[in-house]
């Protein structure tokens, strides 16, 4: 059984946890056999944190995100999102989701894609938050409001997807390998911009990746999952100087950290 609680940094942090999983198990049925995607997962994530999920393919990283987003119902265990059931959190628009593929609607311009959450499901629940225009500016796309998705590069499409997920000021942002399909240069730049967005919005981010460097650079903690069945292997705190800049990747400290993560990954 693998279970762990993330350390609470200050005693003043009495808020409800952003995400709380207790003994969550997810099984998928198939005619041949029963697949256990997640096995007895427990962890708590406080609000405002940035957790990266790292693990080999098939360890259930994406499944874990989908359990939090109320896309997949757990077979056993309990999930609380901001103290509510996931379905409630979803209905209150507490969750923004960014997929690996930008999933933009190709017939809509950038700004109209960002507006989508206003037009379905009863619109954005929280009246506050940034406007679609402000969100595009936040992700560095001012001036591109009326560009169509096929006119944008892969990195720019992913920025639009992030802006869309941030509409309505969700307290939690779930990201499923959002930069996995991008080249390294674009990925590095978007990593920095995501950290900027995180600092600006104060949202809680749960970020799935299979890049060790991305996991260490972005996360304040790295949740390492082992595969077959997916279970928590270890939670590694990342104590790097703040605010993070790409140059720290060249430091010996970062190299040692990445080596440490790689060593754990090999036992997953």
């Amino acid at each position: 059984m693998a279970s762990a609680a993330l350390p609470s940094e200050s005693a003043a942090q009495t808020d409800t946890p952003a995400i709380e999983l207790r003994k969550v198990t997810v099984r998928f049925m198939s005619p041949q056999r029963e697949v256990v995607a997640l096995d007895n997962i427990s962890f708590t994530l406080r609000q405002g944190s940035f957790l990266t999920l790292l693990g080999p393919s098939g360890c259930g990283k994406s499944t874990l995100l989908r359990v939090v987003a109320d896309i997949i119902a757990p077979s056993a265990g309990s999930v609380r999102v901001l103290g509510h059931a996931p379905v409630e959190a979803r209905r209150r628009r507490a969750i923004g989701f960014v997929f690996q593929d930008s999933t933009l609607l190709p017939w809509r311009s950038a700004i109209d894609n960002v507006r989508l959450p206003l037009q379905v499901g009863g619109g954005a629940r929280s009246s506050g938050g940034r406007s679609p225009e402000e969100l595009l500016a936040l992700v560095g796309l001012s001036g591109w409001e009326h560009a169509m998705p096929h006119e944008l590069s892969g990195g720019m499409r992913q920025r639009v997807a992030i802006a869309r997920a941030l509409l309505g000021d969700p307290r939690i942002l779930l990201m499923d390998e959002p930069f996995g399909a991008l080249d390294e240069i674009t990925r590095d730049r978007l990593n920095d911009e995501l950290l900027h967005v995180w600092r600006e919005t104060g949202t809680t981010i749960l970020f799935v990746t299979h890049s060790i460097h991305e996991a260490a650079y972005l996360g304040r903690q790295v949740l390492m999952l082992a595969a077959n069945p997916g279970r928590v292997r270890e939670i590694v705190p990342i104590n790097l100087p703040e605010p993070r800049q790409l140059a720290i990747r060249d430091t010996a400290e970062f190299g040692a950290l990445a080596g440490h993560l790689r060593a754990i990954l090999e036992t997953c």
Binding site: R66, A69, D70, I71, R90, R91, R93, I95, G96, F97, F99, Q100, D101, T103, L105, P106, W107, L116, P117, Q119, V120, G121, G122, M148, P149, H150
Partner: protein
């Protein structure tokens, strides 16, 4: 092209020699405009050479006029009998367009039902496939017996012939949404009709137009086949009359009139497609 432009710009940005860059650019532009002319001229040249071949074959082998006319006779006939051709084209146009509208409307409606009620699709799709497998020339007499000798059976045949490709394409289009797009809609708590309106319907439009382009041509075929069986007017009736009278010039003129309308109908739908579907890059 962008690379060429970038290269030229880089050279031009440097101090002299500017002339060399300008020369390269002029040459490139000339090559481009020549390529553009070729794209327009070569199809015309191809058509003209085939027309010439037709004319030469008729002349050289002394083909009798009741077997096949020479091209210039067809052209003269089209001028002389313009009234007859147009008065017979009109019913065919009405039948084809009405059948097109009716068949596609029913196909789209049923596709929407199939996508939302899988059980309906499972129950009725095999029957639709079965009916579609009956050749149109076999279906036509049945419909004439059922609907009489007026325009109704022709419209029905045109509609039936349009129906199947549109149904199949529309079902495919409405289901051609990525699982992630569905997950996105779920996370946004979108209702079923919102998913239909904002996601399924727009996704299906390019698929629909592929089917409509097929239907534009086949609806004319359906109307003409309908007119073969017991009709006094229409392109189909005129084809039968001209054939029985060994009037090959009129036969060819009628066929050309019918296909001209068919091409025009197709091009209209393609133009509509380009207006409606701007997010999918079209091949030139």
């Amino acid at each position: 092209m962008a690379r060429e432009l970038g290269l030229t710009a880089a050279i031009a940005a440097a101090p002299p020699p500017i002339t060399e860059a300008e020369q390269a650019r002029a040459q490139w532009l000339a090559a481009q405009s020549w390529a553009r002319w070729q794209r327009r001229l070569l199809p015309l040249l191809g058509a003209a050479s085939l027309l010439f071949l037709w004319w030469a074959l008729v002349a050289v082998f002394d083909v009798k006029p009741y077997v096949a006319p020479s091209p210039e006779v067809v052209v003269v006939t089209m001028g002389q009998k313009a009234n007859v051709l147009l008065s017979n084209l009109w019913p065919t146009v009405i039948e084809a367009i009405s059948g097109f509208a009716l068949g596609n409307l029913i196909a789209i409606t049923i596709a929407v039902i199939f996508v939302h009620r899988k059980s309906m699709e499972m129950a009725f799709f095999p029957i639709v496939v079965l009916i579609n497998s009956i050749p149109v020339v076999a279906k036509a007499p049945i419909l004439v017996l059922l609907l009489g000798n007026g325009m109704a059976p022709k419209i029905a045949i045109a509609a039936i012939i349009c129906f199947f490709p549109t149904l199949v394409n529309m079902v495919r289009g409405l289901e051609a949404i990525s699982p992630q797009a569905m997950e996105l809609m779920h996370v946004l708590s979108a209702r079923k009709w919102e998913i239909f309106l904002r996601l399924r319907l727009p996704t299906s439009i390019p698929y629909l137009f592929s089917a409509l382009k097929i239907a534009a041509s086949t609806s004319v075929v359906g109307a003409i086949v309908g007119e073969w069986i017991g009709s006094q007017v229409g392109i189909g009736a005129l084809i039968i009359q001209a054939t029985y009278n060994f009037d090959s010039a009129l036969l060819y003129a009628t066929v050309i009139t019918g296909s001209a309308f068919s091409v025009l109908f197709f091009l209209t739908i393609r133009m509509l497609e380009r207006l409606c579907v701007r997010w999918v890059p079209h091949p030139a």
